[in-house]
């Protein structure tokens, strides 16, 4: 047996021998709030590398849409970002209306604004309170969630559903909102500021919360743009891009509101941008109610709008329309459009190609979180595991939208 001799010199490069451990985070883990899998390469508690796997709840929406009449695609859009389904519904209606070149009455547009801003508040409530939960502050979550419940009650009053709403029609709304719905909205506007203030007091200037979230998972403005970040996440990085301002739709140009921006792009900024957006949304709803114009609730689109029942029973034409709409036999003009709305987590786009039939030829959803979630491994490199969880919840990644 020979004896090995090792000599060391000062100039010799020291090769540190490291062994990384692999940690499988997800797919179903209470901390990931949805079905996300990340295979992490860990150096102790520091993340060295992450490989995300997505597609666990892929439901082939784009393929399904190719065989469905236009009105029946709305329930599919509900299931994209299910935290703010009404925004998806309205975005889809506006896409079809753009293709039809339909003019929507102001009154319907204002109603749409109210419903969209309510669902934006609901979306932000979920995201922000969950950031609280992940930092260990359960209280805020428990208190603010009753306001989300109130918003869902409003949706229920308007359309009968709570989560997957399918609210409204192509062309506007089916009927005037009931008095109960308006009472609930007014109650909400009166009471919610107190609840939101309480939530702000709990977290916004809370030392523990700030220590935990400031500088946690930051992203620079440049990187955010190259990864096509949109919505609150982009604004937190300091870019004041908001579809509502840039390409106003549904009469957003009639309202005054500010677009909050952050500076660092970290978890705290993302949280704060959403907090401020909730206040702005409240103000938009108040303005819409104050300025509410008179007029019809829907555009004159007999091909898409179920006629009143008395007419269906008594006139031939209404009966034909009724049958055609229910069977989805309405032909759509040829064309291709892209329409985007500011969803709960950013620019939600619908790219629609119609070849003139009853169903779309091709429909593509530009799903914001599918695009920006790919920056996640980059954002969590070198930070602690518990911060990575926090970063994910602050990005507002919704599994339904991610996987389509």
């Amino acid at each position: 047996m020979s004896k090995k001799e090792t000599t060391y010199s000062v100039n010799q490069e020291v090769i540190e021998e490291k062994e990384y451990s692999t940690l499988n985070l997800g797919p179903t883990h209470p901390a990931t709030h949805g079905i996300f899998q990340n295979v992490l390469k860990m150096d102790g508690e520091i993340i060295h590398d992450a490989v995300p796997t997505i597609g666990y709840i892929h439901r082939a929406f784009e393929k399904l849409a190719e065989r469905r009449p236009y009105a029946q695609i709305t329930p599919i859009t509900d299931r994209l970002n299910y935290c703010s389904s009404p925004i998806n519904n309205m975005g889809w209606y506006m896409t079809v209306e753009k293709l039809l070149k339909a003019e929507i009455p102001k009154r319907a547009q204002y109603h749409r604004v109210i419903i969209m801003e309510l669902s934006r508040i609901a979306d932000h409530i979920i995201c922000n309170s969950v950031i609280g939960v992940d930092t260990g502050a359960m209280t805020g979550f428990l208190y603010i969630f009753q306001w989300r419940e109130k918003i869902y009650e409003i949706f229920e009053e308007i359309c009968g559903a709570r989560l997957t709403t399918n609210i409204g029609r192509i062309g506007g709304f089916d009927k005037e909102w009931s008095k109960t719905a308006w009472d609930k909205i007014n109650d909400f506007l009166k009471e919610f500021p107190k609840g939101l203030k309480e939530f702000s007091n709990l977290l916004e200037r809370n030392k523990i919360f700030m220590d935990r979230t400031i500088n946690c998972g930051p992203i620079s403005a440049e990187m955010a743009l190259s990864y096509s970040f949109v919505g609150p996440n982009l604004r937190a990085a300091g870019i004041d891009y908001d579809v509502r301002v840039m390409n106003p739709y549904s009469s957003y140009e009639d309202f005054t509101f500010t677009v909050p921006v952050g500076t660092q792009g970290d978890t705290y900024d993302r949280f704060m941008v959403r907090q401020h957006e909730m206040w702005q949304s409240l103000s938009i709803i108040e303005q819409a109610i104050k300025k509410m114009p008179e007029g019809p609730m829907h555009a004159d689109l007999p091909d898409f709008f179920l006629p009143p029942k008395e007419q269906v029973y008594n006139s031939m034409e209404a009966l034909i329309y009724h049958f055609k709409i229910v069977m989805g036999e309405t032909d759509i003009p040829k064309g291709e459009v892209y329409h985007c709305v500011e969803g709960g987590n950013g620019e939600l786009g619908f790219y629609l190609i119609s070849d003139g039939g009853r169903t779309p030829f091709r429909l593509h959803f530009r799903r914001p979180c599918f695009i920006y979630y790919q920056a996640y491994p980059e954002m969590i490199k070198g930070i602690m595991l518990s911060d990575a969880i926090l970063t994910m919840s602050s990005m507002n990644v919704i599994a339904g939208e991610l996987d389509a």
Binding site: R67, K98, M246, Y351, D355
Partner: protein
Amino acid sequence: MELLNKVNEKLKERFYDDIESAELLYDYPVFTVNKDKVHDILKFLKEDEELNFHFLTDLCGMQTADEKQLGVIYHLHNMPKNYRIRLKTFFDINKPEVATATDLWPAANWMERETYDFFGVKFKGHPNLKRILNVDEMDIFPLRKEYPLEDQTRTDKNDSMFGR
């Protein structure tokens, strides 16, 4: 219309023959370009000082109605000036190859993987081109028109019964 002319002039100057068509569809200027030059054109649009389409809004695939060609569609955006354009490129379905845009926008990575997953478009130079939403074992490209949505042997859902 203004934007269409502006971009068209710039593109024509640089890539004369490679711009196959330029039109305004609803509110969007749409350009159809040669697939071999698509990377150069994207790079030019991104780096040109005046146009500066620095934001890749969307990238998706499609199949033409005759089922013989596949296409890739890019939606580009210049945020400060609020310019939005759409770029299309088409190629033969039997040789679906196009240059990747991942070197210009890291965001293109997953969108190209999605396009590959559903249409089988091979993006040359992509760092990790594999399926993303479907299972790895899948051997078809499901969004192609040759794969109908429902089981075609079913008779209870025959289109002729509905007068189609």
